[in-house]
Symmetry: C2
Subunit: 216 residues, 2 copies
DNA sequence: GTAACGCTGTGAATAATTTCACAATATAAT
DNA sequence: ATTATATTGTGAAATTATTCACAGCGTTAC
């Protein structure tokens, strides 16, 4: 059981847990590494390697217990106490994010939203109270928020990040197409839709031309 | 110049291009690898390595020409002809995606949207015509669409993907929290917001506790 | 009981990615 | 012209991530 678990493994564990949760609802009680692997789109060896890092052991004959493994991943990934999340930017994307996460994980909930638009401030949108940017330090500190989501325009991203970090946020999920500059003790995950779409376009083209070559 | 360029490099090239475009607008004419690196949040060696793969050369004294390099990346990444994109799912997220990409890259535009909701079908939303799911094969084929974006609920994702692929799509950008099963000649990029948020929460917590340990 | 099976856990091998480090070089200064 | 300088391009090394391959082991079947 390694002292530190890689970013990629953490991501896959989150995926495994979701799949296990669905299996549990479907009444499954146990499964083998190769089954979980096929559902997750990875190899069986990868699954076993990942599970090593959380110290969960299966049985050679029954494989893994669906419920136990799910809970085990939960203990590893989740905070023992609830983690509140701050959302900055309540535009199209921000509201879509709110809707997407609404009612999903009670342990990791959006508990406050921030926007400059005075029409949104003090409203409750998707069950989340909306504050002005000025109130950010206050609210973040009083709620003990450690995680922020940035859904603001590119130009506003860095300053919003700075304010969040100053208020004590240690992790950012950044949807703005700008690399953020943050202190080394703050973790940033970028969701760069433009980059992703361009990657897809590039490889789609490549695959399409490979297909043509096959007939030669 | 390698025969095949890695997925990660393609992603970074897309980012470099965006940064170069901004620099160009700011009137910059040339820059060094370490400058681009610092803007992109990578090392200078990484930038030089990435640029090797598109065969662009700079000068030891002037560095890279901002305009030339940007165009060079464009020639490498972009299709010589325009690439149309199909968006499936015009809910909160779908509309946010439309708004996000509206007017960004003319070469890579959302040209058709699909949804089951009869209220949306035949409407024009964010400048994009909305069709029913039944029309998908037809429209995708007649428009020559090779790239699809899935912004549908998890349960609908696989079947939407199947239809797109059958109609000729070779690349998918998948926002649904489900691993898609597609033929090997179709490229899939997943944007899994739940996984990303859980990663951020995990590392935020970790960084926060490291901070505490520093004082010991 | 015990033999056979097919899985897990993991050390070792391989593959992919990044970084190091330095020769080659284009320019500016003198 | 020559020298000094700071950067590029790139083999080689280091690091990180994945896969192989197999010993060890519960369980089941007989």
């Amino acid at each position: 059981m390694p002292a530190t678990v890689s970013e990629k493994t953490i991501g896959r564990l989150s995926l495994y847990r979701r799949l296990l949760y669905e299996l549990r609802n479907a009444g499954e009680e146990n499964l083998y590494s190769h089954q979980l692997a096929q559902m997750a789109g990875v190899t069986a060896a990868q699954v076993r390697r990942d599970l090593m890092s959380i110290g969960y052991s299966g049985s050679p004959t029954r494989g893994y217990d669906v419920r136990e493994l799910g809970e085990s991943i939960g203990r590893f990934l989740d905070s023992p106490t609830d983690q509140g999340v701050a959302l900055v930017g309540v535009g199209n994307l921000g509201r879509a994010i709110m809707a997407f996460f609404a009612g999903r994980r009670p342990h990791l909930r959006i508990v406050a939203a921030f926007d400059t638009d005075p029409y949104k401030v003090n409203r409750v949108i998707q069950g989340v109270r909306c504050y002005s940017l000025e109130q950010m330090p206050q609210v973040v500190e009083s709620e003990g928020i450690q995680v922020g989501i940035l859904a603001v325009p590119a130009v506003a991203a860095q300053s919003a990040a700075d304010t969040l970090v100053r208020a004590g946020v240690r992790g950012l999920l950044n949807f703005a197409p700008v690399p953020l500059r943050v202190p080394p003790d703050v973790y940033v995950e970028d969701i760069d839709m433009t980059m992703s779409l361009e990657k897809v376009a590039y490889f789609a083209r490549q695959r399409a031309s490979q297909k043509e070559l096959q007939t030669w």
